[in-house]
Amino acid sequence: MNFLKNKQTRSDFITYGLVIVAFLVVFFMQANHMIPRMFAGQLVPITAYIVMAISLNLVVGVAGDLSLGHAGFMSIGAYTGIVTAVSMQAAGAPQTLALVVSIVVGAVFAAIAGFIIGIPVLRLRGDYLAIVTLAFGEIIKEVVTCLIVGVDAHGLHVVFNLRGNATVNDLHLMDNGIAIIKGAQGASGVSTYSTFVAGFVLIMIALVVVLNLVRSRTGRAIEAVRDNRIAAESVGISVTKYRMIAFVVSAALAGAAGALFGGNFSQLSATKFDFNTSILILVFVVLGGLGNMRGSVIAAAVLTILPEALREFSDYRMLVYAIVLILVMICTNSPQIQGFIARFKPKKKGEAEANV
């Protein structure tokens, strides 16, 4: 176990171990029907949110670009994934193959979208970048709302509902055709294909990809650009290239998460992936710790379960959630409270001297 001597490698393996142990525990509970009914439906969404949090953390935490439109990539992944899966199921492909291919297709399409959007977005920085990603997220949502897609023996039929008066009939499907996406209604009547095991595998893939990227030469270049753009540029790091790498990888993971998420619902409208979803994921990332993938995993899991667990407060649960969110942010970031807590901690010798 020589390679575990490296502190970073050890930390990464703790993260992998944590996810595997959590998966085994939940899987065992699921097999023995020990999971309360209200959580059973949440298993796949939780895994999708964890992948989203890891993916967003790559952009916000590692590359330092605040993205407020990440749900847009999730949406692209979800809809391309659903179209792929339904088409394959209609052609008689097995469930698992349809799931894997739909996740790959979702990731590829989201990555392409990430690249196209990245070209204008990455020319900007800071709050301007944030507002433009927000704008793209909203644009994707509205464009998807205008899409009507169906499949029959002749292949895919797509109608773009610009004036708001097109219906499924405009697809001119054959009798055995299936309408997959029905404009503002979204995708409905789709048989669900996602599984919890697939979610776990996707989390592991996302973790391996992101952690290895961060520890690589490329990852160090990305972090250098985040910490000091001008210094990084002056030593020959191509700023746009490395920010783009982070952005596209992140978009691809978000697309994969979207395809997984989309496959869990028989009814899914585009408004599911709005600004609030982007914010929800950003909350996971910030509370879990910027650049800390293990934190993102834990925060995503806990904060998806928390509102469900708070159901006994019924009407008050979102209020409690909001107050908890504000208090956690104040307690972890306010210098006064940090100083107050530090008083009760036994000081190490070196630290005490450093503080003087």
Binding site: L66, A135, E138, I139, A184, S334, Q336
Partner: protein, 293 residues
């Protein structure tokens, strides 16, 4: 032609509402350098207070506006003092998430207090419109909104450039530490900015709901985001910029709805924003500050 002018007036009045909200956004951003995502929800609170004052207490319209301005001002100062002030030294993301927390809090508190079912807001502005305007279907609300917006902008411009408090605000937005050394109470100045921003939000809330009468806990969210877009569009931190951005955004939105597509109107607005930011990275009237190494 008549139809075109009608769309233009619709765009102008909606744009004026965006401009009033954007003025609050831009002032808070200019001084506290934070994206106050809870601003949109203060609008909603303002509208609810005015609604309750007229429907349940039977107060006259103007008094309900005064009441909602007072409530929102107090709310703005309270939120700033309790949630944002402890985070003055923290990073921008921590403040952003806290603002989101405040936004969730206000929306859910409103839902508990007033219920999730939409309320039907009766317009507070009712008077006969002069006939030369009435032929273009200009409503009284549109007229009042546009006038209020211009008035507010002129007063704010005067306030920030001439009054002592306004000068203190500009000093704080340039350099907080230097402002403090000059004897300016930075905390009080920031509180004051939040008070003004929230008061504007209350007025915007009443005007918004007089214009489109559906009032529910999420009423403020989308106008809030659009007004923020407008502030960035015009150059965030600049008062005339917020005005120009808001009005242009309203007109673009109305024209897109009328001539291109209703369901893609927001997308077109955002697409214009993206193009503007690529050509002028600091917004239309924003100051471009070159980076010094």
């Amino acid at each position: 032609m008549t139809v075109f002018i009608q769309y233009l007036v619709n765009g102008l009045s909606m744009g004026s509402v965006y401009a009033i909200i954007a003025l609050g956004y831009t002032m808070v951003y200019g001084i506290a350098k934070m994206l106050n995502f809870a601003h949109g929800d203060v609008i909603m609170v303002g509208a609810y207070v005015s609604f309750c004052a007229t429907s349940y207490l039977g107060l006259p319209g103007w008094l309900s506006v005064v009441l909602s301005v007072v409530v929102c001002t107090v709310l703005g100062v309270l939120v700033e003092g309790l949630a944002y002030r402890p985070l003055r030294a923290a990073g921008p993301l921590a403040v952003l998430i806290t603002a989101i927390g405040v936004s969730y809090f206000l929306q859910n508190a409103a839902q508990l207090l007033w219920g999730a079912t939409p309320k039907n807001f009766t317009s507070l502005v009712r008077f006969p419109v002069p006939p030369f305007l009435a032929q273009f279907n200009v409503s009284a609300v549109s007229l009042v909104t546009i006038l209020a917006c211009i008035l507010i902008m002129v007063v704010l411009m005067w306030f920030t450039s001439k009054s002592k408090m306004g000068k203190a605000m500009r000093a704080c937005s340039e350099d907080k530490a230097a402002a403090q050394l000059m004897g300016i109470n930075v905390n009080r100045t920031i509180s004051m900015t939040f008070a003004i921003g929230s008061a504007l939000a209350a007025i915007a809330g009443v005007l918004l709901c007089s214009y489109s009468p559906v009032l529910q806990p999420t009423t403020g969210a989308m106008p809030g985001i659009k007004a923020f877009t407008a502030a960035v569009f015009g150059g965030i931190g600049s008062i005339p910029g917020a005005f120009v951005g808001g009005v242009l955004l309203g007109i673009i939105e109305a024209m897109a709805q009328a001539y291109i597509s209703t369901s893609l109107a927001n997308s077109i607005v955002f697409a214009v924003l993206i193009v503007v930011l690529l050509v002028k990275p600091a917004g239309l009237l924003g100051k471009y500050v070159p980076e010094k190494v």
